[in-house]
Symmetry: C2
Subunit: 165 residues, 2 copies
């Protein structure tokens, strides 16, 4: 029923304000899935690799919508279905998501192939431009594969990335 206003802002610091909305285990994961995996329905998030509980998912979608980071709109062809989309404010989080991805790949044992991520780090601006373009075009094809259950980081890649403009 709420999540709406968030009246108790503790500090004017921009980092602090960001964390009031994004500072939890799930919000940025949802945003990442919308951004790079082109998720848009409740079901897709629920069945994703991270196994988020449905009550938490509903709550986070609601809060993200209240924060103006995503919007929810009923599907035209199936009225049961709700399509979630990133707003411009939401897609502007792409740099944050990309940086987190780069950081973890460099410093932790992840399922993402090093070489691919380093290439993205090197072409940062181009990658961000592409993410934004895909968002504007509502491209339904995932930009990156899952990386969720990959054994890890041993240069395994396999042409997952679609190249070119």
């Amino acid at each position: 029923m709420k999540g709406a206003s968030k009246s108790k802002q503790r500090s004017g610091c921009p980092v602090s304000i960001s964390l009031e909305t994004l500072g939890d285990r799930w919000s940025l994961l949802i945003i990442r899935d919308m951004m790079v995996r082109a998720f848009r329905t409740f079901k897709q998030f629920r069945d994703s690799d991270e196994k988020i509980a449905t009550n938490i998912l509903a709550d986070r979608l609601q809060k993200l919508a209240a924060a103006g980071i995503i919007v929810a709109e009923a599907d035209e062809t199936d009225r049961r279905r709700v399509n979630y989309r990133l707003t411009e404010k939401g897609i502007d989080l792409a740099p944050v998501v990309l940086d987190l991805m780069i950081w973890a790949t460099r410093h932790e044992q992840t399922g993402a192939p090093n070489a691919v991520v380093e290439k993205m780090a090197k072409n940062r601006e181009k990658v961000l431009a592409k993410v934004r373009r895909r968002w504007r075009d509502r491209d339904p094809i995932p930009f990156l594969p899952s990386f969720a259950n990959v054994g890890g980081n041993r240069g395994s890649v396999r042409g997952q990335i679609r190249r070119g403009t």
Copy 2:
């Protein structure tokens, strides 16, 4: 006694792994304070503008140390005092902190002056280089002021920025 291992990794996704350590209201704030405000003691964090509870602070410092993001070392001149420092892994979070700052300044009502932050966004690489140099030199002088209780940023954003395709 706790906070240490974090054994239940839920996913190999780098963003997910990052959020296992950083996905809460406080961790990145502590890191930000070390990065741009040159904080290094418990007392400084405790008395900072965000008013973190001391048990939470102790817990987060412990977890960040366990994650290799910071190190704690006893002060030479006063054995009661513990000095916390960012590791290289920690200072590598600078891009994330900077992006969060930029994002919130553009999209939320913050205490940070727009012009300053936009200038930092434009000179991203230089700013990051400077942050890193300051870290290496252990510069004790804050890089930025607090922004915590500033009224500021009226007239919000309004299409100041727009990077196109």
